[in-house]
Amino acid sequence: MSNSQQIFEAWLAGKITASECEQQLGQNSVQKDDPNGEWYSRFQTAQMIQRQAKAPFFAPVPEIDTMSIFAQQWQRPAKSSNWWPKLSVAFSVLALVVSLSPLEMQMQDGGLTLSWRGGQQMQQQQLETLLASYRKEQQDYVQTQLQSTQQQQASQLILLKDYLTEQQTKERRTDMLELVEYLNQQRQSDWHYWQENYQPSQARLDTSAVYNPDQQRSGVRKP
């Protein structure tokens, strides 16, 4: 494809203007690329025809009736607009769906309620399961706590028993000591009484029987 042909086709394709095309083809004629001016002549002829092609054409266009063949070919008789069969089928399908599915329709207090059948039972069941689980958990906890308390109580009782036994022993010892002391005090008191009341009388009765610690005859001994 020559350069001139490329220029000419570029003009035909609208890539360059007519003046640019004319100028470039004119240069090519001078530069011997298109010595006979063949492309330049073609350009001029094409330009003339193009001008004529763009001129308005005023011949009247005849009316062709194509509607009859179109109606015959593409138009279909209007479909009957009877909705009852469709409505009937739709309701049948709806009834089938309602009966097969767990969907439940209830009319109550003038209102229509749609619900899933068994939903309440399922909730109740879940609630019962949860409650049973909670109950078991609580029972286990109480059991554990009880065992722990019992063990604690047992150990504390042992401690208390030891404590009480010890205390009892201590108290018994104290009592015994107190008893011994009391007895001693009583003996002391008896001695003083004897010394104050009976010794002088005895002395008067028996001077020889004055209290003499070394004399064993009286049979009375100083505590």
């Binding site: 035909l12 394709a13 063949e38 002549s41 073609r42 001029q44 002829t45 094409a46 003339m48 025809i49 193009q50 004529q52 092609a53 001129a55 308005p56 054409f57 005023f58 011949a59 009247p60 266009v61 005849p62 062709i64 194509t66 509607m67 063949i69 179109f70 109606a71 070919q73 593409w74 138009q75 279909r76």
Partner: protein, 187 residues
């Protein structure tokens, strides 16, 4: 105003929309008629061609696949029918092709003086071309198709179309030069 695409109109027409079909026909009626008029040279033949193409179009509307533009597809039908008519006419009788279809409506005095004269001259020269070359010139200049589109429509190679086109241009130039010489001699 919003202009519906050809594809949209075709889709609606296939669905039975008469209005869409009417709109599609009115969009291409004039280009098809003028195409026939220029190519065949006779208003009656152009009318026959128009009717024929519209009938074929109506019957085969669903066969348009959108591979090319609708206009290109439509003119593919028109080209085939027009060439068929030209072949049949050549076989029966030699057509003079001197019908004058420019005198029906003349909108202005200026057009009568200059435009019609030049148009008639160019049309006469175009009609003297062989049908194949005339068709290529018509499709390239008047219908604004590219060489590739024309090649697709005519099921030929792009180079064949170009060679026919350049041959037509050369022949037209020779004839126009001869006409100029004759007119100069008459004066």
């Amino acid at each position: 105003m919003f202009k519906r695409s050809d594809e949209s109109l075709i889709e609606k027409a296939i669905g039975g929309d008469a209005k869409a079909w009417q709109q599609l026909v009115s969009r291409y009626q004039a280009p098809l008629y003028y195409f026939g008029l220029r190519l065949l040279g006779s208003p009656d033949d152009a009318r026959d061609l128009l009717q024929d193409v519209l009938m074929v179009l109506c019957r085969n509307l669903a066969q348009y696949r959108g591979d090319s533009s609708f206009k290109s597809w439509l003119f593919g039908i028109a080209n085939y029918r027009a060439m068929d008519m030209l072949r049949k006419r050549k076989a029966t009788t030699e057509f003079t092709e001197d019908h004058d279809f420019y005198d029906d409506e003349a909108p202005s005095f200026e057009q009568q003086l200059y435009g019609q004269h030049t148009q008639r001259l160019v049309q006469q020269q175009l009609r003297s071309l062989p049908p194949e070359q005339r068709l290529v010139v018509e499709l390239r200049f008047y219908q604004q198709f590219t060489f590739d589109e024309i090649a697709d429509q005519l099921a030929l190679s792009s180079n064949t179309i170009k060679s026919r086109f350049y041959a037509a241009l050369d022949k037209l130039r020779t004839q126009l030069e001869l006409t100029d010489v004759e007119q100069s001699a008459n004066f």
